[in-house]
Amino acid sequence: MKDLIKRNSGNFVFLVLSAGVFLITSGQISSKSNDVAEARRFPYMMCGLIAAMSLLSILIDIYKWRKKELEPQTAEDGRKAYAWIKTIIAAALIIFWFTMINMLGFIICTAILVGGITVLAGNRNVISIAAVAIATALVMYLVFAVLLQTRLPEILF
């Protein structure tokens, strides 16, 4: 049983998601019944599609499980345990970037982002870390702010 849920985790997620979206749609989106351009039409349709397909997938899987016709699980490429923590830290760095950029400015935030990720990637050489962080931030600044004239947030101080 646990196996079943694990194999179909994606399907269950989508099933729940489609139900959720359906509810939000009914609640949030107003609809005038005499309006031909019904705004809820396609969202409902898609919720239905997703729900139907994920349910179907789950049922097919149950059927196969019953008949013991399951295909062998494809082996996961050898990833170290808890490697997903790196992803979380990387995501946190990106959040840091767009949260602090209006205060610390483009160059500092980008340098921190690059520096942090290069460490996550396994770089342990301090000089190399600093070099790539600063170089990348400066080059990006040159390309975006100077060459392409995009407005980049500047440091507040």
Binding site: R7, N8, S9, G10, N11, V13, F14, L17, S18, I24, T25, Q28, I29, S30, S31, V36, A37, A39, F42, P43, M46, C47, L49, I50, M53, S54, L56, S57, I60, D77, R79, A83, K86, T87, A90, A91, I94, I95, W97, F98, T110, L113, V114, G115, G116, I117, T118, L120, A121, G122, V132, T136, A137, M140, V143, F144, L148, Q149, T150, R151
Partner: protein, 487 residues
Amino acid sequence: MDIIVSVLQNLFSLQALLVLVLGSAVGMVVGTIPGLSASMGVALMLPFTFGMEASYGVLLLVSVYCSSIYSGSISAILINTPGTSASAASMMDGFSLTKQGKARQALDISLNASIFGGIFSGVLLLLLAPQIAKAALTFGPPEYFALGVLGLSIIAGVSDEGLLKGLILGGFGFLISTIGIDPVSGIYRYTFGNSNLTAGIDSVSAMIGLFAISEMFNQLEIGAKRMVQAVKVDNEGIGMRKMKPYVPTMLKSSVIGSIIGAIPGTGSAIAAFMAYRQAKASSKHPEEYGKGSLEALSAAESAKNAVTGSAMIPMMTLGIPGDAVTAIMLGGFTIQGLAPGPQLFEKSPILVYTIMIGFLLANIVMMLEARVAIKAFSKISNISNHYMIPIVMACCVVGAFAINNNLFAVKIALIFGVMGYILPKLGFKNLVPILIALILGPIVEQNFSRSLVLSDGGFGIFFTRPLSLIILLIAAGSILLGLRKKK
């Protein structure tokens, strides 16, 4: 005769050459960096054109356009991130080829096919512009709807891990595309009071997140030394002569691309996917598609660049932009005092022909520049992950910001990045259906609504109009064929 002489004089001047070389270089840089789209590149060049003579100004924009559409594939192939959404279809095969050590070949095919498509549409532009434009006008809301459905049917051909999963992701992508203000009814959907969401989810940010940022997350997790495991790198190039076996594919794809480009409101991404689909259906080796098929790559690439020339057709003959980039070019024309449209051909034939032939030249210049650059580019996959991952991540983040100068796009990219990272773990490995549905959703839905407005709610309108009926039948046929082949 003197028209031809003047045109040639215009084109073979130092200024023209400088403009073409510069434009191609800028376009190539802008196109490769994920987050900087072709329209951004053209918009950024717009102020520079004010001080120039009209034809040179337009040529500058044209060369930026062509090369940025082409170069999006460079990053698609090398680091699994399309630089522009047009290259999304090249990503699957392109990156697989890189993983097999054949990056150089992939890049060569990409360039050659792009040039093929570009010149094909350029010739069409030169010879048949007015006629094609007239034909394109016959597409009304029902036809656009049918075209969108045809585009969506690609999902059936792309999801090789099961139609059901493809449909789920497609439905999901479609749902996401409904976020924002529905243009036809004016109703706010899923905006939760956030003004940034009123515009909907930009497909470029979504793409950056879904395919690039998630790939970087994956790389971090795997913790390898290089992005692409050191395989024996095959640096043998593919010159023009070796392209012979791909010519039929490229021809068909260029036709598809040219048709899509000439129809206002569609874009390169859709053309590339359609050509991909068509090529797969008629290929002798369909099982290779998605795993590193050079043929697939040639199809997608020639289609996407075939859009560039034909998108200029409605722009120049009717004054109607064929896609977002030509919309900006249109503005460039107007500010110069030129008015694209029926009168332009009569009043300024020299200008018109300069632009059209200049377009062909731009493609050639681009090819020369790219050939030089490719040798360098293919070595990129050798760079250590210590540098690649952070730099690419930074490009994605800054690029997402640069789309609209809006930090919100970065948040969207991050969310999609996390999504793209988690979904494979939930069993959904091929995420392309999300992108396809995200791009095509609005076209399908809005034109469906408009058609119903025109027909007062009658569904018959899609079947009584011959053109939309034909397209819908093609779509149905292609889905059925796809299902059959699965058995």
